[in-house]
């Protein structure tokens, strides 16, 4: 009889334990209900792409020397460099340059290895079109600049974690113009010089 009762007691203890831990879990989910949603409501709020963001490639026609390094470092040799040798000035003359962004994977190799910096990456990432051929940008289309998120009056710009002030974990909590974490090198130099003077 005692054995049976102790068994019942263990059983009850287990049940209470289980209930306790489920309640503990529910306390966590319940606590989340009062926290601010972290959602970025996309068309109305947009994240500001980071400074190094690798978006659509920008191309400056006049800087290009038709060296074709971009073609050689590209994983699929994607850029089309159409040039002709001009015998008079003994230089290659660029006729047209195009990149098909339907194929490009935005790895940034071409930008990194371009000797004249005529290629650069913009912050444009929404490239959707109705026809995939429209994604084949020629040198005119490549020369256009994208609109900034911060300039768009319809959009509330939000910053990504790395650009928030120290200690702030949520972009909604601060305005996007507030200073981000970290000092500028200039400021460190100034404070170091002040210290050495005093």
């Amino acid at each position: 009889m005692m054995k049976f009762l102790s068994k019942v007691g263990d059983y009850a203890k287990d049940a209470v334990q289980a209930a306790k831990y489920i309640a503990q879990g529910m306390a966590v989910t319940f606590d989340h209900m009062q926290r601010r949603p972290i959602t970025v409501r996309y068309p109305y709020e947009k994240l500001i792409p980071s400074e190094r963001f690798r978006g659509r490639i920008h191309f400056e026609f006049d800087k290009c020397i038709s060296c074709e390094v971009c073609v050689r470092v590209c994983p699929i040799n994607l850029p089309v460099v159409d040039w002709e040798y001009n015998a008079e000035i003994k230089k290659k003359e660029l006729k047209s340059y195009s990149i098909d962004f339907g194929v490009c994977i935005f790895c940034g190799n071409c930008v990194e290895y371009c000797p004249t910096n005529c290629l650069s990456m913009t912050e444009e990432y929404d490239l959707s079109t109705f026809d995939r051929h429209e994604l084949n940008f020629d040198n005119v289309a490549l020369g256009r600049l994208p609109t900034k998120v911060t300039d768009d009056p319809m959009v509330t710009p939000l910053r990504e974690l790395a650009y928030l002030p120290k200690g702030v974990m949520e972009p909604h909590a601060v305005d996007h113009t507030e200073r981000r974490a970290g000092k500028l090198p200039v400021e460190i130099i100034e404070s170091a010089q002040e210290q050495s003077e005093s």
Binding site: A15, I22, G25, M26, V28, T29, F30, H32, M33, R35, R36, P37, I38, T39, R41
Partner: protein, 371 residues
């Protein structure tokens, strides 16, 4: 305690207009049914909205936001979308059973609302076998699920249907045992009498205090009956795609979906009626009337009391729904053998024990436990 008798006044009104009482009564009959169907539909839709909003809040999301104020139009949009969607019936299926399945589930759930009272007289029919009727009718639903699972001619559907049947049958028993203990205390199966028996001392006289174990058993069993996480095995999407619903679309799917939320609403109302004092306020309302020196039979007081009663029962029901939703978004799913273990080896013996203890207490303290 009489409450207002709407039927009586309606019949009298029509009789005053020159109709015979029999015709007047016949005219009265469809009104409460329509009303209840409306209330149940709205309740189920509200539950789906709550599900979305609460899950969103628990996951630090926003949830439906732009469809109407706070996304309230989302359930309506859901219904419209599912109504205009094409209903496909798989080629290799059994078309008749395939269509009947969801209908049976839907009707059986809605039928149970026959005996759910929202107030002293706000009930379609005060059947003498009230609680028994609900339990009996809710046993029909698994037949529909089984039909759906079998007729889909899909192994996931069949597994889901079988799981649904096994689950419903095993949890029916602890459910009935828990309800039986309550019935034993009120000496009556009628839902109205069960609530009335909990009146008197306000929150203190509710059955939760007299039946704590029964309350827990009933809650668990009712969650299992509703097929909600942690007991949503019939439609465990990681394992069985969507269980018996896999092949359903359009209106047929809506019937399942609606029935599952109506079932949740029904269960919540049952919990409120059996354990939380139904439409009774947390404080005895009659005393308030006495203190305020309002004659209990005055019509304004009656209307206010009825209104408060409806609010209370809905509040209690939605409190339970809230708990069920929060639980759903907190815990993982149990395994089928663990589920049956819990039903047969844990809830059943405890339910029986609870029944025995209730009987003993009833004999020992007839005053507190309804002699």
């Amino acid at each position: 305690m009489n409450g207002i008798d709407l039927q009586q006044s309606f019949v009298e009104l029509l009789a005053g207009l020159g109709l015979t009482p029999a015709v007047a009564r016949a005219l009265w009959m469809p009104l409460p049914m329509l009303l209840v169907i409306l209330v149940v539909t709205v309740g189920a839709l509200a539950s789906t909205w709550l599900e979305r909003k609460i899950s969103a809040a628990a996951q630090q999301r926003i949830g439906p936001e732009y469809a109407g104020p706070f996304g309230l139009a989302i359930p309506a949009a859901d219904v419209v979308k599912l109504l205009i969607k094409q209903t496909t019936i798989p080629a290799q299926s059994d078309p008749l059973l395939f269509v009947i399945g969801p209908v049976i589930v839907f009707i059986s759930v809605f039928l149970s609302f026959l005996v759910i009272p929202f107030g002293q007289n706000l009930v379609i029919s005060d059947v003498g076998t009230g609680v028994f009727l609900v339990i009996a009718i809710s046993s029909i639903a698994p037949i529909g699920l089984l039909m759906a699972g079998y007729s889909s001619n899909n192994k996931y559907s069949l597994l889901g249907g079988l799981r649904a049947a096994a689950q419903s049958i095993s949890y029916e028993i602890p459910l009935a045992l828990a309800a039986l203990a309550v019935v034993m205390m009120s000496n009556n199966l009628s839902t109205i009498d069960i609530v009335n028996q909990q009146a008197g001392l306000g929150i203190l006289s509710w059955n939760v205090w007299r039946q704590p174990i029964g309350f827990v058993i009933f809650m668990i069993a009712v969650l299992a009956e509703c097929e909600r996480i942690p007991f949503d095995l019939p439609e465990a999407e990681e394992e069985l795609v969507a269980g018996y619903q896999t092949e359903y679309s359009g209106v047929n799917f809506m019937l399942f979906y609606g029935a599952s939320y109506a079932n949740l609403f029904l269960s919540a109302l049952l919990v409120a009626i059996l354990y939380l004092g139904g439409w009774e306020l947390p404080f005895p309302i009659d005393r308030v009337a006495e203190v305020l020196r309002i004659p209990e039979s005055s019509s304004i007081w009656q209307i206010v009391a009825a209104f408060l009663g409806i609010t209370m029962i809905l509040l209690k029901a939605f409190a339970f729904i809230f708990l069920a939703i929060l639980l759903r978004w907190t815990v993982p799913r149990v395994r089928i053998d663990q589920l049956l273990d819990l039903g047969w080896k844990f809830l059943l013996p405890i339910g029986l024990g609870n029944l025995l203890i209730t009987a003993a207490l009833k004999l020992a303290f007839p005053v507190a436990f309804g002699g």
